[in-house]
């Protein structure tokens, strides 16, 4: 199953139609993958506005390259790779401009409880290595199941679970340093 639970064979038909210029099919793919791509880009950029730009740029690049897509049933992972690359390009460009970087890193503060737990959790998530952050963002922010993440990142379900477990452990370690202890 792919990101939205559609089967790969059906997805192949939609991608094939989009390759032929069917605008409804293209709209379908855009609607299906847009949110996921925003979160993929966000996990690199940590900036929601830039992530939306990155996702849109990824779709434009995908349109230009779509005819070269060989495995029509792998559209999701292919698009995610394009999106990740686009976001990394944006991040590199941003690093060149220190001021912009500073502005972008200051994300809106997380709303939440007053004891700073949410803030600490947010910092811990943002501080994860990008490989772990990506699955955390897709699972918790986007609400994707393990199998949906598996299909869009083209990695096995066990690896998804493993990365999430390791990410949670790192978050817990970080929280412990901040004075929050997990109840057993």
């Amino acid at each position: 199953m792919n990101t939205l639970g559609l089967r790969e064979d059906n997805e192949r038909a939609v991608v094939e139609a989009a390759c032929r210029g069917d605008s409804e099919a293209l709209a379908g793919l855009y609607e299906r993958y847009y949110a996921t791509m925003v979160w993929v880009a966000y996990s690199v950029l940590l900036d929601r506005g830039l992530a939306e730009d990155g996702a849109q740029q990824a779709f434009a690049t995908a349109c230009a390259k779509m005819r070269s897509l060989r495995r029509l049933d792998r559209f999701g992972p292919w698009l995610a790779t394009i999106c990740r690359n686009a976001a990394q390009d944006m991040a590199r460009a941003r690093r060149r401009d220190a001021a912009l970087q500073k502005a972008a890193v200051v994300e809106e503060p997380a709303q939440g409880n007053s004891d700073g737990f949410d803030r600490a959790v947010k910092d811990a998530v943002d501080g994860l290595p990008s490989m772990y952050r990506e699955v955390v963002v897709l699972h918790y922010y986007s609400g994707m199941s393990y199998s949906q993440i598996e299909s869009v990142l083209n990695i096995s379900g066990d690896r998804v679970k493993g990365r999430l477990a390791r990410a949670r452990r790192r978050i817990q370690d970080r929280l412990e340093k901040e004075g929050f202890r997990r109840e057993q």
Partner: protein
């Protein structure tokens, strides 16, 4: 001072830190900004790209079969439509049978009953499950009526109103049928009529391939039957249709998610029964069913969310409790009422009112014992409260009830089932 949290607190906190609202796609806006990219996909010589109606129809046609949760009854609807349209690819070369005869025959049909199996990919127990589907064609005096059953899920449609319910609850959700992706093809069929789409054969004709038909004898009955097979490469589907040469009506149909007709069919419509007289009440909800409209559902959820904000963000447990009680009293028949009771229990727990928490959890498990939503978590929290008050035997019972309630509903390795198992082991070891 050390502050404590549990796994659930952590997961909720991670979700809360998501920046902004969920991303909303704006295809039109994007298309305007990236017109060049979009135009690079256009291929003037491609017939299908210029024939928008055909292309989109076929894509929708594929979507309805595969669309996530909505596959349920639409898949059954689609099998009949496919049966009737793919057969039409035959150009009438076979003197014994042509699609025109089947269309004429189907136009005389007033009721149709289909039963068979469908691959059910959802929930904790995916597999092949039986389905039953009844349709009564619309007439001048009566709207289209349908009833579908897959597992415990029941759908009844009368005209534009569709009721969805589960056989182990007494609540049905009323919806506007033609807006349901899953069902709109039935409605479409009813409109174009008499109730079978005549246009579809022409639209789909250019897509299907490998049409083959033959007349064989049924090895079990010795009766002659027409076997027709074809494939539908854009959706990677293949079909087998069996038609009765005498009546020209489809007797059974299979659909595979591959081009080779191999393996377990995605849909195996084993039996089509035409013009059967249906029992009274087939299209009626049970008398004790409470019908919930979408408005109630949304309003109750909005009220519940107010309580959630007080509980999670502001930590105002007493105030949150007031809201949750309102949800329970105003919408006792909705699933959200049970969730509200559970949250009331949590509020009491946070306020160190453990006896009251236990009372409320017991009320929830007594009043909503079969509700598959939060009842397993409610049993879990009840177990926790028993533990806190030193009632370990009762705690074990509650955790075991949690496992029973969550079996087949939740992933056994996640909250609360994994936690309940851990506590049972721990308590029994003491």
């Amino acid at each position: 001072m050390e502050r404590k949290y549990n796994e659930q607190d952590l997961e909720r906190a991670i979700r809360r830190t998501a920046p902004g609202d969920p991303p909303m796609p704006d295809f039109e806006g994007w298309q305007k900004r990236h017109a060049e990219a979009v135009s690079s996909l256009k291929c003037p010589g491609d017939k299908k790209s210029t024939d928008g109606l055909s292309g989109t129809w076929v894509i929708r046609f594929g979507r309805i079969l595969m669309k996530k949760r909505e596959v349920r009854f639409g898949a059954v609807a689609a099998v009949l439509l496919i049966a009737l349209t793919i057969i039409a690819l035959d150009k009438g070369t076979n003197v014994a049978w042509s699609m025109e005869q089947t269309v004429e025959a189907i136009e005389q049909v007033k009721t149709l009953y289909i039963e068979g199996t469908v691959v059910w990919p959802f929930g904790a127990e995916p597999g092949v499950v039986p389905f039953r589907y009844w349709v009564q064609a619309p007439t001048e005096n009566s709207p289209l009526k349908m009833r579908g059953e897959i597992k415990k899920h029941v759908m009844i449609a009368k005209g534009d109103t569709v009721y969805e319910c589960w056989s182990d609850t007494k609540t049905a959700q009323a919806q506007y049928g033609p807006a349901i992706t899953d069902l709109k093809y039935w409605y479409k069929a009813a409109e174009v009529g008499p109730w079978v789409i005549r246009q579809m054969p022409e639209l789909i004709q250019q897509y299907a391939t490998d049409w083959q038909q033959s007349i064989e004898r049924d090895p079990n009955t010795g009766k002659e039957r027409i076997l027709a097979t074809c494939t539908y490469p854009p959706s990677n589907m293949s079909f087998l249709l069996i038609v009765d040469p005498a009546t020209k009506l489809v007797e059974s149909a299979k659909l595979w998610n591959n081009l080779q007709h191999e393996g377990e069919p995605y849909i195996n419509a084993k039996s089509f029964v035409y013009n059967q007289k249906y029992p009274d009440g087939l299209f009626e909800l049970p008398a004790d069913t409470t019908v919930v409209n979408e408005r109630d559902s949304k309003e109750s959820r909005a009220l519940f969310d107010l309580g959630e904000a007080l509980f999670h963000k502001e930590k105002k447990y007493a105030e949150a409790m007031e809201i949750y009680w309102q949800v329970y009293f105003m919408y006792p028949k909705l699933n959200v009422a049970e969730e509200a009771l559970m949250m009331i229990g949590l509020c009491h727990g946070r306020l160190e009112q453990h006896d009251k928490a236990i009372e409320v959890y017991q009320k929830a498990t007594r009043e909503y014992p079969h509700l598959k939503g939060w009842i397993d978590a409610t049993w879990f929290y009840l177990g926790l409260e028993y533990m806190k008050t030193g009632q370990n035997d009762k705690a074990i019972d509650a955790f075991e009830n949690c496992l029973k309630a969550g079996e087949g509903v939740r992933d056994p390795n996640t909250f609360p089932l994994a936690n309940a198992r851990e506590f049972i082991v721990s308590l029994k070891g003491q």
